[in-house]
């Protein structure tokens, strides 16, 4: 399978482990990725002008004829929304008027969906079944919204993937509740309250790991976790992995390939348990 790959800006900084693990897992699963030529930022959640946001996404999509894969839910939502917006002839005409390469349609896939498709057909690729590992599936908002292939409030694809890895998906009530990330910079307190609530819920559910599909969710739950513990005086201590990192562990890929040393809360104690259970 050959796909165009849109890494998104975070792949160069705060989400480097997302990018590393996406490339490593894709290679291991025989998914050939061709990075989109000279890609630009999708606008994330900070470009309020809708036509501008559509234009930014359309420029990326016009660079390739292949289906486009991305690991970032924000990029995914923006690209997908732009595909819908570009179906309106007036919007398409306005945007194409400023584009160098004209947009003529695109198909967008989240890495999660591509990985599941390959894994379901190739169960033998699982080198390290994640037996009995209790995983909190955390979708956040934008994988499923506004409209797309998954239910915007009760999606189940993460649970399906977690089961494919032989792990146990927890019934996680806040799985599609916003992490607060987009307002973290200007409205710190509000964002932190939300993130801590999600972490507490995962702890109460007995999670050994939280899995995310978005770099902003990952930032709020992993990078900020220690600071939140200090501010709230409550220990959480749950590693937060990108879905590609969790899959990579099950495929037997090494910590360096998956960028596991870049996570703030070390997943190493969890990995030890996984190996112990495998040998039981």
């Amino acid at each position: 399978m050959k796909l165009a790959y849109y890494p998104g800006c975070v792949s160069r900084s705060t989400g480097r482990e997302m990018d590393l693990s996406t490339r490593a897992v894709s290679a291991a699963l025989g998914i050939e990725l061709e990075e989109i030529e000279d890609w630009n930022c999708c606008g994330a959640t900070h470009v309020s002008h809708e036509l501008v946001a559509t234009g930014l996404a359309a420029r990326n999509m016009a660079q390739t004829d292949l289906p486009i894969m991305t690991s970032c839910s924000i990029c995914y939502s923006n690209l997908r929304t732009a595909v819908q917006n570009m179906e309106e002839p007036e919007t398409r005409a306005k945007v194409n008027a400023v584009l160098t390469k004209k947009y003529s349609g695109a198909r967008i896939r989240h890495a999660l969906d591509v990985i599941l498709e390959v894994l379901e057909k190739n169960d033998d690729l699982l080198a390290v079944p994640l037996k009995d590992l209790k995983v909190a599936p955390y979708y956040g908002c934008l994988l499923t919204r506004p409209r797309g292939v998954y239910s915007p409030e009760f999606p189940t694809i993460l649970e399906k993937l977690i089961k494919t890895l032989h792990a146990e998906p927890l019934d996680f009530r806040l799985k599609t509740f916003c992490c607060g990330g987009p307002i973290f910079m200007p409205q710190e307190k509000a964002a932190e309250d939300i993130a801590f609530m999600i972490l507490s819920e995962a702890k109460a559910a007995g999670a050994e790991v939280i899995v995310t599909v978005c770099p902003l969710c990952h930032f709020m739950l992993d990078t900020k976790q220690k600071s939140l513990e200090q501010k709230r005086g409550e220990k959480i201590g749950i590693p937060v992995l990108y879905v590609t990192q969790l899959v990579g562990i099950a495929l037997g890929l090494g910590p360096e390939e998956l960028g596991l040393n870049m996570n703030s809360v070390s997943p190493m104690p969890m990995m030890e348990k996984v190996y112990e259970r495998m040998n039981e």
């Binding site: 900084s13 309020s48 607060g180 307002i183 409205q187 710190e188 870049m262 703030s264």
Partner: protein, 177 residues
């Protein structure tokens, strides 16, 4: 008799966020779905009412716009098919253009400026520029920086794409429409 400027404002919101906004029945599903509703004044429901009444000043000068996390649950649930987040986005865009200064508007402006000039976002320069207008954020920025830098998760430079002229056209020319 409503003021002409008020009507113009209402028309601008409908043009940018969709004419279906005027079918709002004020049911409050948007407010009930919002993860930051408890901090908002006016609520997202009231904000839509203010737009339809043409109350521009009240609609633009509030924290509500900047407490929206773009989670889109309001948009998913609205029984009228209205996109309340699109209303918020339209109002943010207007507030920025009108020069209504706030730290939140500043962050978005710097973000868009980086895209316009370089094509991509680099978090460190973005944060640096934001700190110039909002120095109070230095503690939270340092805290995050200290967490990420040792893990190799801070890009120091800015990556400039080749298609900068094209991206500038997207931001500026489409931004005028």
């Amino acid at each position: 008799m409503p003021d002409v400027a008020d009507l113009k404002f209402k028309q601008d919101v409908l043009r940018m966020a969709g004419s279906e906004v005027q079918t709002c029945i004020q049911c409050g599903t948007c407010s009930a779905s919002c993860p930051t509703a408890h901090l908002m004044n006016p609520s997202i429901r009231k904000l839509i009412k203010l737009c339809l009444e043409g109350k521009k000043d009240e609609a633009l000068k509030n924290d509500t716009l900047w407490l929206c996390t773009s989670c889109l649950l309001c948009t998913v649930r609205c029984p009228r098919g209205i996109r309340p987040k699109a209303v918020v986005a339209a109002l943010k865009d207007m507030a920025e253009r009108e020069g209504i200064r706030s730290k939140d508007a500043a962050y978005e402006q710097i973000f868009t400026k980086q895209i316009r000039d370089y094509g991509r976002i680099a978090e460190l320069p973005l944060t640096g520029e934001f700190l110039l207008v909002f120095p109070q954020a230095v503690v939270q920025s340092m805290e995050v920086g200290l967490e990420m830098a040792p893990r190799g998760k801070m890009a120091l430079g800015i990556e400039k794409i080749r298609g900068r002229e094209e991206v500038k056209r997207i931001v500026e020319e489409l931004g005028e429409q």
